[in-house]
Symmetry: C2
Subunit: 123 residues, 2 copies
DNA sequence: ATATATTACCACCTTTTTGTAGTATTTACA
DNA sequence: TGTAAATACTACAAAAAGGTGGTAATATAT
């Protein structure tokens, strides 16, 4: 969607661009719209548009919203009581690794990817 | 295993320490031994020992071996032909994010975790 | 030798994730 | 107003991941 210059994209259009089954893609789009990333409009000439400017949608925000904040927030060993004050052996390492990765992902927005595509990317 | 000072650890012992079902843990241990991280011995007094010094087992090496090198190596968008010369829009970002995370994980060994536990960790 | 404590192997069950089907609803346009 | 082109909802099917059960193989101790 970000790459196509369409005002509005239908699921069918996206299905033709991406190798994702129609039906499944439709459901994913509905999910994304419930999560607030895109807005949907029904009926003929309906489809999806981004709910916010591309500059405001970071990859980190997508992951957090789609996966649920817990996924990136919780203890990698699955301990309930693992916290800063009472950390598991993996805590420090995991926080460090996660932070570094999310750092990159927070600083990359859909706008950045679109620009990249425009300049020199292929797929 | 790293934390316990045992020469050899049985699956039953580990099951009591960790909250992992006996049977399942046994299978995981067998898998790990096939992958070469640990060595198993059968029979009474049997069990598992590390195949290498703890200093030589990094978290990154465990992930790579257990998950398969592809998981961390392949295109996050699933494109077959995504390579350095013909990158997808996510390529650069993903390589950067991965590299940073693997950097931390490569520099942490089981020995490091064991020392951490000795010093001040709880679980 | 026999009983016991262990891992190994193979097939199965359960849960989660991924994908499909049918039908209803909404909107545009002739 | 009727038809076509779209999304929405609900339930189900298939595949993958997580977990269990039964039994065989192996080694130790008595």
């Amino acid at each position: 969607m970000a790459i196509s210059e369409n005002e509005i994209s239908s699921a069918e259009f996206l299905h033709n661009k991406l190798e994702i089954p129609r039906r499944y893609l439709r459901r994913l789009m509905t999910d994304l719209s419930r999560l607030g990333f895109i807005r949907s409009s029904k009926g003929r000439k309906g489809g999806f548009v981004f709910a916010k400017p591309l500059e405001e949608i970071s990859l980190a925000s997508i992951i957090k919203t789609v996966e649920g904040a817990e996924v990136m927030g919780s203890c990698i060993l699955g301990h309930q009581k693992c916290k800063e004050e009472q950390p598991c052996v993996m805590h420090e390492t995991w926080v460090e690794a996660k932070t570094k990765m999310l750092d990159t992902l927070s600083n990359t927005t859909l706008y950045d990817l679109k620009e990249k595509k425009k300049r020199f990317q292929v797929s």
